[in-house]
Amino acid sequence: MYADGSADPRAAATARTVLDGPEIDRALTRIAHEILERSKGGGDVTLLGIPSRGVPLAERLAERIERVEGRAVPRGSLDITMYRDDLRLAPARALGRTDIPPEGIDGRLVVLVDDVLFSGRTVRAALDALNDIGRPRTVQLAVLVDRGHRELPVRADYVGKNLPTSLRETVTVQLSEPDGHDAVLLGPAKPRPGEEG
């Protein structure tokens, strides 16, 4: 995914599909069950997606947990733009939506949801953002793809697919909500400073 939230059509043209729609579905179903198992029923789980592609992923995970447990799961979005450490490296970017469920996050098990885990800087920023909003009991991280190359000591609790990549490659996640269909593509990099999270 690109920082501006758009899928690059040129990358898509030469890219190889590493996860297709049904595989993404299965990965999300598995993550939903893992969250339920580790949280012993998910009674205090709040799912927070990181814009832009983390938000529909959090929504889908919440729906799956609801289907299994038969009760509502609070979900929202957490924009981390204002907390990024690379703000000064690029022109000011538009903010995403921050939408915290009305019950707040104090004492909850917050699962952060993002599409790609890369340097770990987005997650660091998200932890800072959470700090300003409240005090969760525990924070866990769920990602669709872990592509490696961490620059910070960050680890995901739930991973859809571990995807060993080269730094010369890009991982593009397409989801039906913004893009019309589901796919994870691996393609050649275009030069830009580490912007994925």
Binding site: D79, M82, Y83, L87, R88, L89, A90, P91, A92, R93, A94, L95, G96, R97, T98, D128, N131, D132, I133
Partner: protein, 302 residues
């Protein structure tokens, strides 16, 4: 966008970006921790040659909520009183490492001149009778919050247009965003150049009132009036003041705005000023969000 000197410099997309950013930042004011780390290590100087507690405090709060360091520099009791020129003051600020200068000056064009002398971003917080862009942005933000749209909105700006930088900034911005503006004022308080502005002019408040979605009252700026522009305050009030009777003839969902400070009993009756359809206090709260958005967009990136 490097400086914010005039709302006329803003494209439609840029203006909407400021409004959308402000809408997101408004949430920060509702939190227990009202602070973002975005501008950590940046310095914002408030350079105020005219007294303005409201605007200065609003800018100060906005910068502090984004974790910037704020230096307040008021002309009174400073080297300005000893005769230092604007340019020398600017170069001093530059040497002190200011990333941004928020300037209020009694001379039209002062902010523009300043932007030629300093490297940092210059934000015009009111220059003479010229412009006050963040005020217009917060006014438009308030209209969009209250009425849900800007396109096609009919806005009447009433009162001392001649001395008002708020009026000019609003006319330009509202025009960019697709609203129709009518200026309503005594002929003596309409600027000579008004035919070049993208708006219409009327001298009759009662004719414009029932057609307006927004009625924005301006303060009669007695301190800038070195001539007699109208016979008496009473006559002004009778023809251009918003009292309960006129208020009753407005559309049911129309709102009343005022940039403050209000002169109760002259431009606006106390009854109207305290009505739920008057947005004066909302405008102040929105001012902080809008100024945060502008500071973020000017200073947040490279």
């Amino acid at each position: 966008m490097r400086h914010l000197l005039s709302t006329g410099d803003l494209s439609r997309d840029e203006a909407l970006l400021v409004l959308d950013t402000a809408a997101e930042l408004a949430q920060v004011g509702d939190r227990s921790v009202k602070k973002l780390p975005t501008l950590r290590g940046r310095t914002v100087v408030n350079l105020f040659y005219e007294d303005s507690t409201r605007t200065r405090t609003s800018f100060e709060l906005a910068a502090k909520r984004l974790s910037a360091d704020v230096v307040n520099f008021s002309a009174k009791g400073s080297s300005v009183a000893k005769g230092e020129s604007l340019k020398d003051t600017a170069l001093t600020l530059q040497a002190m490492g200011a990333d941004s200068v928020v300037v209020r000056h009694s001379a039209s064009g002062a902010a523009h001149r300043l932007s030629e002398w300093v490297d940092g971003a210059v934000l015009n917080a009111g220059d003479g009778t010229h412009e006050h862009p963040t005020q217009a942005l917060l006014d438009v933000f308030t209209m969009r919050e209250r009425l849900g749209r800007l396109e096609g909105l009919r806005v009447a700006i009433v009162g001392d247009v001649l001395h008002s930088r708020v009026a000019r900034s609003n006319v330009l911005l509202l025009h960019t965003l697709g609203a129709e503006v009518t200026l309503v004022a005594p002929p003596t308080l309409v600027p000579v150049s008004v035919h070049t502005w993208p708006c219409s002019v009327s001298y009759d408040l009662d004719a414009v009132l029932p057609k307006s979605d927004v009625v924005m009252l301006l303060r009669v700026q007695a301190e800038r009036m070195h001539d007699a522009f109208f016979p008496t305050a009473r006559e002004y009030s009778r023809r251009y003041g918003l009292d309960a009777e006129r208020f009753a003839r407005m559309q049911d969902d129309a709102i009343v705005m005022h940039p403050g400070p209000m002169v109760r009993g002259m431009e606006i009756s106390a009854e109207v000023a305290d009505s739920a359809r008057t947005t004066v206090n909302e405008q102040v709260a929105n001012g902080v969000s809008v100024r945060m958005a502008v500071l973020y967009l000017l200073l947040g990136g490279s």
